[in-house]
Subunit: 350 residues, 2 copies
DNA sequence: CTGTTAGCGCTTTCAA
DNA sequence: TTGAAAGCGCTAACAG
């Protein structure tokens, strides 16, 4: 009996091993395996067979070194734990994976230093492209990106750097919310911001100011609160809000988390929602929970939904196009939002 | 005036370029840059300077080809969109990123074919390790993994493959739920499973049967429903459940999504929760929403919390250890669960 | 402390 | 249709 297995203890077989076994050159083997270039069908079959038999697996890193393409894309998100992002990532993943890419998903935690490190690491890994979701980009990161691979921006876009942009129509969302509240008789409406680091919260604040003006509603300075209830400035701002001579009859929060915190805070102060004051969220983060609970007892946060999955898909597609042809003119897509009326908004108290 | 910039239009500078510019060998440059091996401090400084000046960035893929280490880890999850997973991933990310790794995060969608493709692709990319979260592993995937890099399993572990295991104590969770219900007077308790593909749902079913027996409660065959309300079998099973002579007074659902669906279904049938029937969830998926809403009006799903972030961290740490020393004996960690009593459970009706 | 040399596994001209 | 040869950018003996 001869020993079947006399390889030096388990080394991944390479293209050379196959070539040797088949008595062919590795160039031929490479051509057969990659499908590019002509190989006599008969040999081709042989090569594929022996490759399978040996448990051959291509080394994408060797290939990448040679071709300078990694079939790898970096995705930067603020925090995978915030329910709005996984939806977007899923959309991205769907189209990019289908196209043969693998994703590096990275949390930046809204932290510029981490952002920078991550981008550096991604560039060192020679990603073919980058998708930046809701990132406010630091000087340093910008410099790194300057001569990097194609970038696509979701939700937020730096002015100094070219790249495709996909985002929800925040203006429309805020308008839908305000028109809903206005229709319920609300005129004194306050804005509750998010943490300072949140770029969407800031953008929504701008929309809020613009749309309130359009509706002819005044905004007293105390009606704009920066920082969520988790922060000191947020808490004190909110307390001041309620202490006004004419407190607001409604609060538009920067997102659903802020809205829920706000509701908790109001409740502590003995106020009922929506009887005493209406509160709206943004992003429709907790849709599944609310759908279930609505069935139980009507109960849920009035909010703005945005096509998150679609946002991701479009970002993925934009990146693929740009990788294929970096010289394409940059595109920009704004997606519509949807108002979800639930039970945290009601008629203005007067 | 001489042209400053006469490089061939933008090529990433390599170690050779630096070597040339400094009049040194690339070995020296490599040593200086990597910090491994001795280099005259003065030269070292020079090298770092010129590297920075030229915007040098190491090619991790070239390094990987040489060293056969990629500092890259693959993470398989069922669905990033299910709120339980991002928490786990975040934990993994925290420890692995801190150790200099970058993560390939991959959705398998509970689909064995995708799972297989993903693992293949990850092996081709020569990840240093793999973390498989809640994966039920197919034969084919198993074969691929057989001579692959170290694996760590979270929530579910195949018997045929060695690897560290980290998971929540499902038994404990189910016991907490059942003791809670038992204490409320419930004796006729049904189990509502998830989709057939969900391995945790199946495991929890086993726990349910075991614990019910321990409590001395009988389980009529109709009281075990497989498939969620989204499936035909689930719906018909549930309908049968309510049509019983002695219908259950409580339903233990495989997870929070199933619980919410169940509640919706019960509501359609004109039943109130918890007055007519109690329902429990699992995973405490919607904690933030419930925390906020609880403050509004008491309202939320009784569920079981598990230390998801910690699960992830431990998985990351286990993998790091195993990568450092593949010969370590496999470890196994079971983490405790916590009962969260909210408003979908109440005294048994009769 | 530094340079020479060899090569990781693959792709890609170019010639045959 | 195939093979020879060069090289992607880095590391790691080894010798000096």
């Amino acid at each position: 009996m001869s020993r079947q297995n006399d390889n030096p203890p388990s080394r991944r077989p390479t293209i050379n091993d196959i070539a040797e076994k088949c008595g062919l050159s590795r160039a031929t083997v490479a051509r057969a395996l990659s499908g590019k270039g002509y190989v006599k069908p008969q040999r081709k079959a042989l090569i594929h067979e022996t490759a399978a038999g040996m448990g051959y697996r291509i080394s994408t890193i060797a290939r990448a070194l040679r071709t300078q393409k990694t079939a790898t894309v970096g995705v930067l998100i603020a925090d995978i734990t915030n329910p709005i992002f996984p939806e977007i990532v899923k959309g991205i993943d769907e189209v990019l994976t289908a196209a043969g890419n693998t994703l590096f998903l990275c949390n930046t935690d809204e932290n510029q230093q981490k952002q920078q490190n991550i981008v550096r690491s991604l560039l060192e890994r020679q990603v073919d492209g980058l998708i930046l979701v809701s990132q406010s980009i630091s000087e340093e990161t910008l410099a790194l990106l300057q001569d990097g691979p194609p970038c696509v921006f979701v939700n937020r876009q730096p002015e100094q750097l070219p790249g495709d942009y996909i985002g929800p129509d925040n203006d429309q969302g805020v308008r839908q919310l305000l028109e809903h509240l206005y229709g319920l008789g609300h005129r004194r409406i306050a804005y509750m911001g998010g943490p300072q680091t949140s770029s969407t919260a800031r953008e929504r604040q701008r929309c809020f100011q613009r749309e309130m003006q359009r509706l002819g509603c005044k905004i007293p300075p105390t009606f704009i609160i920066e920082g969520s209830y988790h922060s000191d400035s947020g808490r004190s701002g909110a307390a001041a809000l309620l202490a006004c001579d004419l407190p607001p009859t409604a609060i538009l929060a920067a997102n659903d988390f802020v809205a829920l915190d706000t509701i908790a805070f109001l409740h502590q102060r003995g106020m009922r929602v929506p009887e005493d004051i209406s509160v709206t969220g943004f992003d429709d983060t907790f849709k599944p929970a609310f759908d279930g609970l609505n069935a139980l007892r009507n109960q849920g946060l009035t909010s703005i939904d945005q096509p998150k999955r679609e946002l991701g898909r479009l970002a993925g597609e934009a990146l693929l196009k740009r990788i294929a042809n970096p010289l394409l003119p940059v595109s920009e897509k704004i997606l519509p939002t949807t108002l979800k009326v639930r039970e945290t908004t009601g008629p203005a108290k007067k």
